[in-house]
Subunit: 226 residues, 2 copies
DNA sequence: TAATAATGGCATACTAGTTGCAAAGCTACA
DNA sequence: TGTAGCTTTGCAACTAGTATGCCATTATTA
């Protein structure tokens, strides 16, 4: 799925390795940087989901990194977590004003840091209407589906159908429900047509080789995405 | 893509070659000059993106080059990086006052120098409303499009259309959205007209040989630039 | 075995691509 | 200012391509 990339820029200390390890453990692909300048240089080519950095970095400090990122259309969307030594209220407010998503004291435990990072990725995903399920990524706004990072071309109806099912995993949708939600109330189309679309969707998702990997048939009831 | 030109004027030492090589490595086209006068002479014909020079140059020194450049409307836009031996605070302030974009000690590493150069080009691009996408360069201010460094003549509408699409890559624009943004709210023009303009734009961008290299059709939805 | 689902094929409807043309706009020159 | 010649633009008509819905057939499930 293209693991989520996170840039980690913290001063040398015992925690840094712990945090690095914990983030990797949670499935992030971690890239470590030393200075603010290093961060700015590296993101030109490769935009990460989140930057987790200390406020006091050499060359360009964390505050300045925030400012730079918010100036740029493409980089605005990166989530920013900022740690300060002895964070006072004024620091925290300043951080938020500069566009950071989280600002807090560097004394916080590695565990909490990871938890906050995960919470932030979740929030960012929701903001983008992005659904990630195993090796699938479904982007509502971009009207795009990626499997293993590769684009799958879906037609209009196929996309709507997939998005409906995936937006409430485990929920069983009856055919009439699907018809109403995908085609709209007024349109009148046979129930059986849903089957055909499910079939076409399954094909494109590659369910021939691994049957029912994504879409499960509930005999006599409907379909569900799992 | 019209490689970015950079003028390099540093005194002879082991670093100069390293910096030269590193800049070329990063895709710049490097032109070396000896004296401040050489720099001034050469830029009349061929304006570089950036001048990276030492403050102590023979004939005309770096400080004077800064002054000259900032006097000239056309040359103002060139980015200037100035290195000083034993840079004191007063030097640094003087450099910025004379219009340099970066001033620092000549002891800095080649790697950092390159990183700063790249950061400066990025800044300059944003300031010029320049969009670079693969072999395309779109300059809003100059109302110009280059492909592989060669100008492509676009009509007014074609340019607006391209700029709209390219300014938000990956975003899908519906035909009505395009109409509103390119033609304005009041004008009433058929949706189908957008297709015709897309076709003409594609032709000029050379999409006959490589279909959908730039502009992708999303059936039933709209178009997007990728 | 009866009901339900999956599948393949096909006609149709819809959407996008393409072309030619006329009108409007622009430029240069007398 | 007028006019000839060129470019740009919008549209309609046509062609090409794609998506969709349904039916008939086969497979699966309870």
């Amino acid at each position: 799925m293209g693991e989520e990339k996170i840039i980690l820029a913290l001063p040398d200390n015992k925690d840094r390795n712990a945090i690095n390890a914990a983030l990797r453990q949670s499935g992030y692909s971690v890239i470590q940087k030393r200075s603010g300048q290093d961060i700015l240089d590296s993101i030109v080519e490769d935009i990460p989901e989140i930057i987790l950095m200390h406020a006091d970095l050499p060359k360009v400090d964390g505050w300045q990194v925030c400012e730079k990122l918010k100036e740029d259309q493409l980089l605005q969307k990166i989530g920013i977590i900022l740690c300060c030594d002895d964070a006072h209220e004024s620091d925290i407010i300043r951080g938020f004003e500069l566009g950071a998503d989280e600002v807090f004291d560097a004394n916080v435990s590695a565990r909490e840091l990871v938890a906050r990072t995960q919470a932030l990725s979740r929030r960012l995903q929701i903001a983008k209407n992005l659904i990630k399920i195993r090796d699938l990524e479904i982007e509502l706004d971009a009207h795009r589906v990626l499997k293993d990072g590769k684009t799958i071309d879906l037609t209009y109806i196929q996309f709507k159908l997939l998005y409906l099912l995936a937006s409430r995993r485990d929920n069983i949708f009856s055919r009439s429900e699907i018809l109403e939600r995908v085609w709209g109330k007024k349109v009148y189309v046979t129930n059986r047509t849903v089957d055909v679309h499910i079939k076409r969707l399954r094909e494109k998702l590659g369910e021939i080789r691994y049957p029912s990997q994504y879409i499960q048939t509930i005999h006599g009831v409907g379909y569900r995405f799992m």
